[in-house]
């Protein structure tokens, strides 16, 4: 009996050791990411907080760091998202509905599906080249707000389609069957039964995709969003700049004061991203309670 017990105890304590070691390893894995992020945030806060004032929002870029602001960049970013949001929502959700509800499951749709998933991982600069060729040169939209927004739409479409598809797929089949049993058409089923239960997850996906677009620089640099823009865009054909580009320009200046300004700009950008992500979470929670 006692021999058995001892063997058992040894086994248990061994298991505990393994358990403990893994626990610590996973904790380290988590904390490395968080510590790096915290270090970055603290560094940026220390550099940027002193420059975070009203002038940053109300002034145009300037050669004097003390007077420089990012008004045109903030407005440019917001306009871009406002144009992007409806276009990418309609196209993305439309495509997702088609693929999930209408398209037959054939080799062809599987190929499309594979392509969309791949596109979601294509480096953003590639979308910049695409945008430059199609919108800026091909459709002669030039370096306008619209070109930028359409290029960014291309960039986020795959993400929106994939997340919307998942949301639609998550709607139980019983709901559709019930709707059809009541004599509803396909579209009635989709619009009154499937979409209402999927909309919260779809919106979450869209918001997260849009917040990715706000932080992107590469495609816009490619299509030629500008650095010094001391005016606000008045139409969708006007030239524009966005926050990440303004920040990048400030960081690459020799003067230290501009680096601080860049840090302040990063804080604004981060705040905007956090607000968008929180609203995505809130939206999800709100609808989840209703369903």
């Amino acid at each position: 009996m006692s021999i058995l017990q001892d063997a058992n105890r040894k086994q248990i304590s061994n298991r505990r050791k393994v358990d403990m070691t893994l626990h610590i390893l996973f904790l380290i894995a988590t904390s490395i990411g968080i510590i790096a992020l915290m270090a970055l945030l603290i560094q940026i806060m220390m550099d940027g907080l002193s420059r975070l004032n009203l002038e940053l929002f109300t002034n145009y870029p300037s050669r004097m760091a003390a007077k420089a602001g990012m008004k045109s960049a903030i407005v440019g970013s917001i306009y871009m998202v406002l144009i992007m949001a409806p276009i990418s929502f309609i196209l993305g959700v439309g495509a997702a509905i088609y693929l999930e509800e209408y398209a037959k499951k054939s080799a062809f749709t599987r190929l499309i599906q594979l392509n969309i998933s791949t596109l979601a991982g294509v480096p953003s600069i590639v979308y910049g080249i695409l945008g430059l060729t199609i919108f800026v040169r091909g459709l002669a939209l030039e370096r306008s707000l619209l070109s930028g927004a359409l290029t960014m739409t291309l960039l986020v479409l795959p993400i929106i389609i994939v997340s919307a598809q998942e949301a639609i797929r998550a709607v139980p089949k019983a709901r559709r069957d019930a709707s059809f049993a009541l004599g509803a058409t396909k579209w009635q089923t989709v619009s009154r039964s499937v979409l209402p239960s999927a909309i919260s997850s779809i919106l979450t996906g869209v918001i997260l995709a849009l917040s990715r677009a706000i932080g992107e620089t590469a495609p816009l640099v490619m299509i030629g969003a500008l650095t010094f823009v001391a005016f606000l865009p008045e139409s969708i054909m006007d030239q524009f700049t966005v926050m990440p580009i303004q920040i990048f320009n400030w960081v690459s200046r020799p003067q230290l004061a501009f680096h601080e300004l860049a840090a302040a700009g990063i804080i604004v950008l981060l705040a905007l991203l956090i607000i968008m992500n929180i609203s995505a979470v809130m939206l999800r929670n709100k609808y989840q309670k209703n369903v």
Binding site: S62, R63, I97, Y98, W187, F228, V251, S252, R253
Partner: protein
């Protein structure tokens, strides 16, 4: 039923697309028609009252090109904007080469350049019927820097620089550069190939633009501040960049005078201006599309630029030309 749903879906997609495209198409014609009108109006105004009280200017001026020249042009655009708020000047930083590509396509009115236009670029501009003016706006001195704790380098010759930076360089340690210097591995920093600075340096030192040493000992950087950091953090490093980056980081770096065979000169406002810091002083230029120059707003911006850049160049870290040079170029405009 199924068929109908499909078609409706398709229709809405197509409709959405056409609406979007139609909207922008219409807008575009509008704006181009507008700018055309204002431009002709302004030119007629401009020719009748050349030096009269400030005319009401409007329109847009597209500028792109070198990020080195950017701070100067940005400053000029900012000051010009204070007097002519209706003129919308935008400045991009696609790099000298990238800027010329757009310029040659006729997309920009003015192109910033940290090196003169290449023959190839000039040829394709000619092919596309783009005529341009070349204007010198300031000087920059490429500065050779080493670490603060480097106590052996007091000056460097052009040949020694070439030894370090030439393709297939055999220099591994400082001792390979000059006998007597320490036997420590040398860490080399250079701006990357997108920089006009790189073009100019390789042309002057290695004899051919874009030809440079490229091995494990060299770090190419797109961000000049990374070179500053690199050199400031490593005792055995050497690097080069525009004078303004040295000026802002004087406390972290040691500036090396360059021996060009006739004299040993360190870059400074004075030596760059009088041309004695040679051959690493370079002119910063703007290229103006002659067709765009016909527009009053572009013409008056360029005039304003040449009249005022002298006083602003130093403020943004560059060296002004002697006043005669500005006057001479201004008279060329007339």
């Amino acid at each position: 039923m199924k068929k109908w749903g499909k078609q409706i879906m398709l229709l809405t997609l197509v409709a959405a697309l056409t609406v979007v495209l139609a909207a922008c198409g219409g807008k575009k014609e509008d704006t181009s028609a507008n700018s055309g009108n204002t431009a002709t109006e302004n030119t007629t105004n401009g020719s009748t009252s050349e030096t009269a009280s400030p005319e009401k200017l409007s329109g847009t001026i597209d500028i792109d090109g070198s990020s080195t020249v950017y701070p100067i042009t940005e400053a000029m655009a900012e000051e010009f904007g204070k007097e002519h708020g209706e003129v919308r000047v935008s400045v991009g930083t696609s790099g000298t080469g990238g800027g010329f590509k757009r310029f040659i396509n006729g997309e920009t009115a003015i192109s910033n350049a940290s090196r003169p236009i290449k023959e190839k670029e000039a040829a394709s501009a000619k092919e596309k019927g783009i005529e341009y003016l070349e204007l010198m706006v300031a000087y920059d001195g490429l500065s050779i820097v080493v670490n603060k704790d480097n106590d052996w380098v007091d000056k460097i010759t052009i040949d020694e620089l070439k030894k370090i930076y030439e393709p297939n360089s055999k220099v591994k340690t400082w001792a390979d550069v000059r006998a007597g210097w320490p036997n420590e591995e040398i860490k080399i920093y250079s701006p990357d190939a997108n920089h006009g600075t790189f073009d100019y340096f390789t042309e002057e030192i290695n004899g051919k633009a874009q030809e440079s040493r490229n091995d494990k000992q060299v770090t190419f950087s797109a961000d000049t501040n990374a070179i500053v950091q690199g050199v400031a953090g490593d005792k055995n490093s050497i690097g080069y960049f525009g004078y303004s980056y040295f000026e802002e980081n004087q406390d972290k770096l040691k500036l090396i005078p360059v021996d060009n065979g006739t004299a040993t000169v360190a870059p400074s406002q004075d030596t760059i201006k009088d041309g004695s810091y040679s051959p690493l002083s370079r002119p910063l230029l703007i290229y103006v599309n002659k067709k765009h120059m016909e527009k009053a707003e572009v013409k008056s911006f360029v005039e304003y630029y040449l009249q005022n850049v002298g006083s602003i160049a130093k403020e943004v870290g560059y060296v002004a030309l002697p006043q005669e040079k500005y006057d001479e170029q201004l008279s060329k405009l007339k």
